[in-house]
Amino acid sequence: MDWLIAGAGLLAVAVLLAALTRPFGDYIAWVYTSGKDWRVERGLYRVMGVDPRAEQTWQAYLRGVLVFSAVGVLIVYLLQRLQQWLPYSLGLTAPSEHLSFNTAISFVTNTNWQSYYPEQTLGYTVQFAALTVQNFVSGAVGIAVAVALIRGFAYRRSGTIGNFWVDLTRGTLRILLPIAFLSAIVLMIGGVIQNFNGFTELSTIAGGTQALPGGPVASQEAIKLLGTNGGGFFNANSAHPFENPAGWTSLFQILLMLVIPFSLPRAFGRIVGDHRQGTAILVAMSILFVASFAAMTAFELAGSGTAPQLAGGAMEGKEVRFGIPGSTLFSTASTITSTGAVNAMHDSYTALGGMMAMINMMLGELAPGGVGSGLYGMLVIAIIAVFIAGLLVGRTPEYLGKKIGARQIKLASLYILVTPILVLVGTALSFAVPGVRDDVTTTTIWNQGSPHGFSEILYAFTSAANNNGSAFAGITAATPWMDTALGVAMLLGRFVPIVLVLALAGSLAQQDKVPATAGTLPTHRPMFIGLLIGTILIVAALTYFPVLALGPLAEGLM
């Protein structure tokens, strides 16, 4: 019965996505290739002071991304530090310097890691005027970078890769804003709140008291999922009934997380002029998604481990209205994109079920990945895959008519090294530096003295470096070490790959296309799909097997 329910949920998502991704992918392609600006956009360009027709080199494009993001970090930091003077601060004071630093980076990098309890830390103004703004623009930045890389493949002998300000504006205005608005209304119909009431104290029927929380939740909830951000208005995130009131709203939220990442391959195929290329990527993503969902669901339904066995099932940390399959589908969608929202507490998952959430992130969040970041990550893997195939047959590799030479391979190789280094070094330092180790093992970790405690730290760095934002939340992360180390991991995990991707885009755009010959590896056939999946799995397995053995595998197979 549970498997029937799980299958029906997956089928519903698949059918809806199948219906949406084609027209929506075509729409996305149009947004970023159309020569016409909307009247309102022309007004915005005048205010910003940019010429929408001026194409940028990859360096200028990158400078836009980096400076714009730096300004975002500064504003989010300052608004938090000034919280007590802001309206609707609910009497809350400013979060600490290290927490504000962590949160600012977290929301600008599309991670939405939260070291704090939102209800007790942030007033409404910081939530909607700082965090929700970043939820929109960090998503738009991700899509912009992916589109710049697509242009690298599509352009010939071009010194430019588009205009960052135009891509940012169009992504926000034409894609994120209208869908978020409609989705917010759908969520409100389901019961998600949207008010400025603060906490309303009331007496319960048993004579106790309860505070009804308020807040502009629906407007933030919609973009939290659509932009694969994941930062909850409430601490319990999408497990909180005011964020996610019903089984059907949960399905809707899953759809919001997946719709842009799964539509981007279609947009990619359209822009490079060969839909089969987009389809190959889409199929590879889908296979990984289904396999991962099946594995996590199997582990959670089996419910191994002392506590789940004793309780009669793995329901600790899960809500009845979602059940186990409704929780694992959400968790899979959230960790295999860069969302990190949760409708159940991953820390209380079975050891191996929780490991699947980690593995989804360790694969690089590619199936389908975050908005934009999923596609550009996948295209980097495609470059590695054609390179490996080229080595096997002794030919110069090419992808979409572009030669993959030394420069491209260097950039792609560096790309796949960034997050593993951040994850492994961050985790190792947490246990290796003497002063830090004491703090981490006694203050940060709640599941002390067990492989699960190690998993909590490993999960934290995996989530931060991959810009996911979910957590094994049984940790106290608002410590100077964790806030700072995770902040640095998020920052480097976001922007070093973006530097490499834009450099790659620039180097590809400069090339002319070489015609395909009999020796060219077709990159739309099942064999290439297999190569893509194989590359992803081998890279992740070689990198992460040892740490997984110390954490979830040790716990789950004990």
Binding site: F136, I185, S250, A307, G317
Partner: protein
């Protein structure tokens, strides 16, 4: 000033203005969504409040509550919610976040099973999983029909009601899976308890 610092400075100025523009747009967006919510969907937008027979707001249809006496002991005349790590205050929301081998979690499951079995006069094996595990939010408004079923006799006795009467109320407040395949079947505990209170009146 060379060309690259000049262009970096220009990018900074564009960035500041762009961030201001997007901030303004998102503020307007937030206010428009609030307006739509307050005008078209005021009940939901304000937290789905529910009233007792006297018309006083006593909670939200979406938030679980503890039906406990002043000492924190469960009241026999009310159906009981799932365990909550947060304690149903509404000012925060969290699960236990204990891992599957955590000794405290193991102990709390054992204690909950013994307590629920004794309180309802059923065998420990008859206690369903949602009765002994804390929810993710600490505010889960629902229990499974199985957990409601083992509470019926105890509630009926405490209130001096017919078993059939209470069973009928439980059935009325039981909802199947959304669209037939989403989530588990649920019983909304607050609404069920409110209906019980109204029976009495």
């Amino acid at each position: 000033m060379n060309a690259s610092t000049r262009s970096a400075g220009r990018t900074l100025w564009v960035s500041v203005r762009a961030m201001a523009v997007f901030t303004a747009i998102v503020i307007v967006y937030t206010l428009v969504v609030t307006g739509v919510g307050q005008l078209a969907l005021p009940w939901q937008a304000n937290g789905s409040p529910v009233q007792n027979a006297q018309g006083e707001t006593v909670g939200s249809a979406l938030l679980g509550q503890g039906f406990l006496d002043a000492d924190g002991a469960p009241l026999p005349e009310y159906f009981q919610s799932r365990p909550s790590a947060e304690g149903w205050t509404g000012t925060n929301s969290y699960g236990s976040n204990r891992g599957p081998e955590h000794p405290d979690l193991v102990a709390s499951i054992e204690a909950a099973r013994a307590q629920v079995a004794e309180f309802n006069g059923v065998a420990p094996e008859a206690v369903p999983v949602d009765a002994v595990t804390a929810s993710g939010s600490g505010l889960d408004p629902h229990i499974s029909p199985a957990y409601a079923a083992i509470q019926v006799a105890r509630v009926a006795e405490a209130r001096g009601l017919d078993l059939a009467q209470v069973e009928a109320l439980v059935a009325q407040h039981t909802n199947g899976r959304d669209l037939g395949f989403l989530g588990d079947p649920v019983v909304n505990v607050l609404q069920l308890n409110l209906a019980l209170d109204e029976l009495k009146g």
